[in-house]
């Protein structure tokens, strides 16, 4: 069957470009909004962007680490 247009390489490249533009826009929009910091550190420019990104990277790495110790084949309890 023919692949859906969305899974063609050039479409994926365009989606990435659009995604990058949206990301940049959300950070730049911070310049145009008045915001008051909730706890202080979040007044740093682009705080939510880098904090969200960093939190996710940390969580994925933590999960990988835990996975090394606790992952089993999915028929572990049936065997």
């Amino acid at each position: 069957m023919t692949p859906h247009w969305i899974s063609r390489p050039e479409a994926i490249r365009r989606l990435w470009i659009a995604f990058g533009l949206i990301l940049a826009a959300t950070v730049l929009a911070e310049l145009a909004t008045h915001r008051h910091a909730a706890i202080g550190i979040d007044a740093v420019f682009g705080f939510h962007a880098w904090f969200g990104f960093g939190a996710c990277v940390a969580l994925v790495l933590l999960a990988r680490l835990l996975g090394f110790a606790l992952k089993r084949r999915d028929d572990f309890y049936e065997r």
């Binding site: 145009a32 909004t33 904090f51 939190a55 990277v57 999960a63």
Partner: protein
């Protein structure tokens, strides 16, 4: 008095469950959808305390209605209706009967004015929900038994707490249990077990995904959220709950990241979301409590929606592992769209229900000066998008094409998904009417420029992390060990070892014992006449000894049957 009891909101669903066990065809569908509508109407008729009755030394208040109980009653009745619509084609009568009884019992807890009524409905929920799991067939039997045992344990702990509290205070009223209330920790432990709190949270991802495509929708709505309700009423502002809640939030994320089965991913994410609510209850200001109550409301909607979407995929393909799915957006547009609406709502995207509810909890943390809690809540929110917001729709509906082309499910299931999608968006777009009914008096303005931009940054950069780390997130055909390993592997293994040892020791000592028994009987006969056994003991002590012996016997029995 009895007329008042019949008009209790729980009554409509319990009566409906009874009817469902005998009627068929159109009448069955009418009861399935009609009983929740009547229950919803009764939720709004109930006001104040009604139907007080005296049972032995107890003054019971089977029905007590206020803003908090009506808040939860409303969403429970709506969830029962939506789940009934989704299950309209469900062939298992047992599942439908048990589901409606389960929803009724949940309403019973929510409108209970005293701890004894609460306990009765609490146990009824455990039994009814076990039947929902078991109705899915033989593959659900073992997990259902484990689920039942864990909940009977939790129910017993709760009963000990309530009995102790009553013995010490002579009061059975179900109100806030302050720091000095006797047995409050025992009651708290019993309630937390149902919330999916550590260390026994594994019952949830173990059992719920064994239910049928429609059964898990029902299960997701009631047990954990009645626990949230009881925590809101009895333990607001208990500081320990902040940390228990945060632990649950991160536990859910990490385990969901590692999980392959789509419905187990969503099960872990229930623990994650309830974690936010529990943390909010721990913060304890009126804003935080409103946040927890409204997040429970919103969560019941979007989690039901996500599980309907996953249930549709399961019903149409028979598969639920991410490694066997993908590319379904091409043939299941309604299921995909509704799944994405649920995913955006759970991630708290602006203009969805999750955004206008979860922000209250974070803001309350900031207002109380709890900077670390605020940061952890923000990290948790980023993690929600990672493990549920993108992971679920991406691996099920997109990623690489599995070649499967199942159609969307039959009309009632599609209708149920659309019905639940509407408030997920509606509450997010127009929060004011929703806020007007909030149980506590704290106003909130969710939409400010800074709030929206901050949340968009947080979520979209989490999305960036997801796609950049896709290699590390690739699904494998694995499960992740949890604390249930203790009673699924360690316990049975120990019991299996113990049996031959006991048998050997027994046969060796049997002859000795027979000899000793002769002498013992003589001594016994003597003590019955004039020795220690002739003394009257307090019946409480005797009961305690009997309970201890029976408990020991049960534990060994369960462990050897657990495998």
């Amino acid at each position: 008095m009895s007329a008042e009891l019949l008009l209790a909101p729980a009554g409509a669903l319990l009566l409906g469950a009874g009817l469902l066990s005998v009627v068929d065809g159109r009448a069955r569908q009418a009861v399935l959808l009609g009983a929740p509508i009547i229950a919803l109407w009764l939720v709004w008729q109930a006001d104040g305390s009604a139907a007080p009755l005296r049972y032995m030394d107890l003054l019971l208040t089977p029905v007590r209605a206020d803003r908090l109980s009506r808040w939860f009653g409303t969403i429970f009745a709506f969830a029962a209706f939506a789940a009934g619509l989704f299950a309209l084609g469900q062939k298992s009568r047992l599942e439908l009967v048990a589901s409606q009884a389960y929803a009724g019992a949940a309403l019973g807890v929510v409108f209970a004015g005293d701890l004894v009524t609460l306990l009765v409905f609490w146990e009824a929920m455990a039994i009814a929900s076990t039947l929902v799991i078991w109705s899915a067939g033989s593959q659900a039997r073992a997990a259902g038994l484990r689920y039942l045992l864990v909940h009977l344990l939790g129910g017993t702990v709760l009963m000990v707490g309530i009995a102790g509290h009553f013995a010490a205070t002579g009061q059975a009223a179900f109100d806030a249990l302050g720091p000095e209330a006797p047995f409050r920790w025992v009651i708290l432990a019993g309630v937390l077990l149902n919330a999916g709190a550590p260390p026994l949270s594994a019952w949830l991802p173990d059992a719920y995904p064994r239910a049928s495509y429609s059964g898990m929708v029902v299960l997701s709505a009631f047990t954990t959220k009645t626990a949230v309700y009881v925590l809101l009423r009895a333990f607001p502002g208990e500081p320990l709950l902040v940390w228990i809640g945060l632990f649950m939030a991160f536990y859910g994320i990490v385990y969901a990241i590692l999980e392959n089965d789509m419905r187990r991913i969503l099960a872990y994410s229930i623990v994650n979301q309830v974690g936010f609510m529990v943390a909010g209850i721990g913060i304890g200001t009126e804003l935080a409590l409103n946040g927890a109550a409204s997040h429970a409301f919103a969560h019941i909607l979007y989690k039901a929606l996500l599980l309907m979407s996953a249930g549709s995929v399961l019903a149409m393909t028979g598969r639920s592992r991410c490694t066997e799915l993908g590319g379904l957006f091409q043939s299941m547009p309604v299921t995909t769209t509704c799944g994405i609406v649920g995913a955006l709502s759970i991630s708290a995207f602006p203009l969805t229900s999750g955004f206008v509810t979860k922000s209250m909890i974070s803001d309350a943390a900031a207002m109380e000066g709890l900077s670390l809690v605020w940061l952890l809540l923000a990290a948790g929110s980023a993690g929600v998008f990672l493990h549920a917001g993108i992971k679920f729709p991406w691996f099920v509906f997109f990623q690489k094409d599995s070649g499967l082309r199942p159609p969307d499910p039959p009309p009632p299931m599609r209708a149920a998904m659309v019905l639940v999608s509407l408030p997920c968006i509606g509450i997010g777009v127009l929060p004011e009417p929703f806020y007007a009914f909030l149980p506590y008096n704290a106003g909130f303005v969710p939409y400010s420029g800074g709030h929206v931009i901050g949340q968009l940054q947080l979520l979209l950069f989490s999305g960036l992390a997801f796609f950049l780390l896709l290699g590390l997130l690739k699904r494998t055909e694995t499960i992740t060990l949890d604390t249930d390993w203790v009673y699924r592997r360690l316990g049975p293994a120990l019991a299996a070892r113990l049996v031959p040892i006991v048998a050997r020791t027994w046969s060796g000592t049997e002859s000795t014992l027979t000899r000793l028994a002769g002498r013992g009987l003589n001594a016994l006969a003597f003590s019955y006449r004039s020795g220690s056994l002739a003394r009257t003991r307090e019946s409480g002590t005797v009961a305690l000894i009997a309970i201890a012996a029976l408990t020991l016997y049960l534990i060994v029995g369960y462990l050897s049957a657990m495998r």
